[in-house]
Symmetry: C2
Subunit: 246 residues, 2 copies
């Protein structure tokens, strides 16, 4: 049985409203403004990181919120909701879904699937397993995850080579084929056409973050393209703008 | 002679940080967060609307700021910085450049070019004339405008039919050919490749707003694409998700 919260997300867009480090929007109000704008624009749900930030989002939007916390594994890579204490904090503030790292990497001595199984024994909360491979997805569903997301493909040492800037459509396709739970498309979905492709491949819904909620990164995409084009023109024509414009 | 402020913008991206009506970011702090993120992402300049919002942006970024105010013509269409009083307020807060409607539509009894000529007689401030046609651009330069922007193509009754969602490259090309002042590409530049095209056509710099600073609108672009794709799948396959996932 698919939980009704997951049905609310079906065929829609989830906007990931996260901000880190020195990002000007890294505050509860900063990410909440994005969440409100996303819901006004038609988002079916919000994905949010951090207890204080997620708490403020929850009290300002009426769509389902997928909550998570971030810490790091020993190698410095991102760990998503890595302890029972973090899960409990997210439950306490009222998250509708909790995202958990579903990779085999050990946290507090257990793998992702084992950790998910401990959480599901203790709580009824809906769990989204963030995975990087088909095997992890299968193991997480067997462990009791309610849904899977392709979030981590390209962000583990095992999958780093797959990160070519585009989404991992292959993983999405394989998960949809093999798993009888909703599969969310997430990770480098930066254009509407990437999202259309995901839906065609059977994604339950699509999660978009950067292209909507990281203006600093989006600005850099435009700047790089413009600077390259401007440089090409200067070297091609050795154009003297100063003189031409006097 | 091209003013040094305009040289600072050459070959770069200007991010328009505007928010209106019930947009969650419609506050001085809301648009200032975007301006800070844009500068961190490499923006060469900021374009900003409203006295209080622009004032806060000016005190938080160190790049040139193009300021303007908005009101409406009698037919409800947008009027950009339509009175001497508004120009003076923008000068007072320290805008580096002031954008003024350069169309022939009358405001306080005078056309755009005539108004620009009055402003330039009174103040040394750098004026960017926002135009919708080649003729307006030529008239504004003759009136003393320091630079031209294609901002208004598609937003006057005369040019409304040209608004097909894409930039007006034709106007840009014609202005670059005919005018010996910097021509800024602005209006529906929503992708890096639109911007590359502008630079190739000779734009001095490109102004991007919506794609970077209107998350509500960008969300709606993604939602529309996803919902259409999801609908196509349902009607194509009459797929029974509920059953398939039990």
């Amino acid at each position: 049985m698919i939980n009704s919260i997951l049905y609310q997300l079906k065929g829609g867009l989830i906007v990931s409203c996260q901000a880190e480090a020195d990002d000007p929007f890294n505050s509860p109000i900063g990410v909440t403004l994005f969440a409100k704008a996303a819901v006004m624009g038609g988002a079916y749900g919000i994905r949010s990181e951090g207890i204080e930030k997620t708490k403020m989002i929850l009290s300002n939007v009426s769509v389902p919120v997928i909550g998570l916390t971030k810490s790091t594994f020993e190698d410095g890579s991102v760990k998503i909701t890595g302890s029972m204490k973090e899960v409990e904090s997210l439950i306490e503030i009222g998250c509708h879904v909790i995202a958990i790292d579903g990779t085999m990497r050990l946290r507090e001595g257990v793998s992702g699937p084992d950790f998910i199984s401990h959480v599901k024994e203790k709580y009824k909360t809906i769990i989204m397993a963030d995975v990087s491979t088909l095997e992890e997805g299968i193991a997480c569903v067997e462990a009791g995850a309610d849904c899977i997301s392709t979030t981590l493909s390209g962000y583990t040492s095992e999958t780093r080579d797959l990160n070519n800037g585009k989404p991992d459509f292959e993983l999405l396709k394989n998960l949809v084929r093999r798993i009888k739970k909703p599969v969310f498309a997430e990770g480098r979905y930066n254009t509407p056409s990437d999202c259309v492709q995901a839906i065609k491949l059977g994604a339950w819904a699509v999660v978009v973050g950067t292209a909507i909620t990281r203006p600093r990164v989006v600005t850099s995409w435009f700047v790089e393209a413009i600077e390259k084009a401007a440089l090409d023109i200067i070297s091609d024509e050795n154009r003297d703008w100063g003189g031409a414009f006097d």
